[in-house]
Amino acid sequence: MGERKGIEVSLAIAEAASMCDVDCIAAYPITPQTHVVEHLSEIVADGELDAEYIPVESEHAAMSTCTGCVAAGARTFTATASQGLALMHEILFIASSLRLPMVMVVANRSLSGPISIWNDHSDVMTERDVGWVQIFAENGQEAFDLVIQGYKIGEDHRVTLPVMVHFDGFILSHVIEPMEMLSRKEVKSFLPDFEPIQRLDVDNPISMGPVGMPPVYTEAKMATEGALRSSYGPVVECFDEFGKTFGRRYKPVETYRAEDAEIILVTMGGISETAMSWVDIQRDKGEKVGLVRFRLWRPLPADDFKNAIKGAKALAVVDRHFSPGGPGGPVAQEIKYVLYGSDEQIPVVEFVAGLGGRDVTFEDFDKMYTRTKGVAQGEPVPPFELIQVRGGHYGEV
């Protein structure tokens, strides 16, 4: 197996991209992902990686450049966060609808205003519709592994879609974690060269990105939907193959002590690890709680989720973003969609926590658990609660 070392997660991600032998990197720095692209620029400058490193003038330019690079047939990497991801917004749709596989790592960071460089999911959740495959990492090892798997999944000819790997800004990006770094040779044997299904080539000219008149646009959207939905199979295959090859097997929906749980906590990303420790403490006290997380966010693995929560009396969903003036947290909304009309009607109690980098603590989980236990015992389901806010909810007296 590879060497085990303590390394800052951002640097490990850069190493992963380097081991994937990427051909093009077009990136713009933004806290907290800057270490990723900085380290990659060092790797290229030192001659360790033979790649075209293009320092562009903005994230909009970065994503545009990456789209062009993949269109030309190059394996491409970039990274961003928060405002950078927002600035890329219009091009993200292009990359997916043109079916151009690439890996972008997003160091989840709060969207401004007020300006916040700290971790939450407002940047991710506002990009749900862009048509990319989206996967969450909960620790440094996962972030490293998922960059490699992202290329394997995206470049699969049954998929040919771009992939976002999400990891928590600062909480993961700036933290040194012990992890097993695979070797270049091991990555090369797992991830073959990029064979684009089509590319811009003067000898076989094609045009990418034409106008789609009304008679055809709907069908084009269904085609992309079909591609994203059917990428579920290749995702699971890749997770399985990675597990067999390197011993770490990921799943579209991850569970922790959820099999006989009465109350199930649902989290995404880094706070899941805090939640796991909290679950252990509760279990030692005899409380029947468990944890379920979406690892694969897009396409949404609805069936896996329904199986994971079977038998629970109530769900406590912890969102790290909410839609102002709207229906609360996005993960809770999507879970309600999954459960709507299904035989198992499990009450969903919605919480929003950890905005703008505020730590989510065991005390917060205790509060959520008490509220949700009440619902499981017959209390009415409260509206979504921003549990850490000082001053109570809007509308409360």
């Binding site: 609808s97 043109l98 079916r99 151009l100 040919t160 299904i197 089509q198 000219p205 094609i206 045009s207 990418m208 990105g209 034409p210 789609g212 008679p215 055809v216 709907t218 069908e219 084009a220 269904m222 085609a223 079909g226």
Partner: protein, 97 residues
């Protein structure tokens, strides 16, 4: 996107809607976008070719006798030729049917 199938099934679309046949825009007959058409008065035309150069569709060409003719399959009736004509010998006539 296939030219043979005017209303394709989504499964028939090329990946990413890529256009794989060079020059295939010629199958899109834009002539029916037109609401009026240019008519030349060959008595005043001096065969300078300026109208042919300025046509944004490239559907104007010179006949063997040197006078310009517009391809009605593609002419959109934009009247740029009318504006650019040095002798003012082109006029726009409304499409009737």
């Amino acid at each position: 996107m296939t030219r043979q199938v005017p209303n394709p099934n989504w499964r028939d679309l090329a990946i990413g809607c890529a256009v794989t046949e060079p020059g295939s825009a010629k199958y899109n007959r834009t002539g029916d976008w037109r609401s009026s058409r240019p008519i030349w008065n060959y008595d005043k035309c001096i065969k300078c070719g300026v109208c042919t150069v300025f046509c944004p569709e490239g559907c104007l060409s010179m006949k063997p006798d040197g006078f310009p003719i517009s391809d009605m399959e593609f002419c959109k009736g934009c009247a740029i030729c009318v504006t650019e004509c040095w002798t003012g010998c082109i006029a726009m006539e409304e499409e009737v049917e």
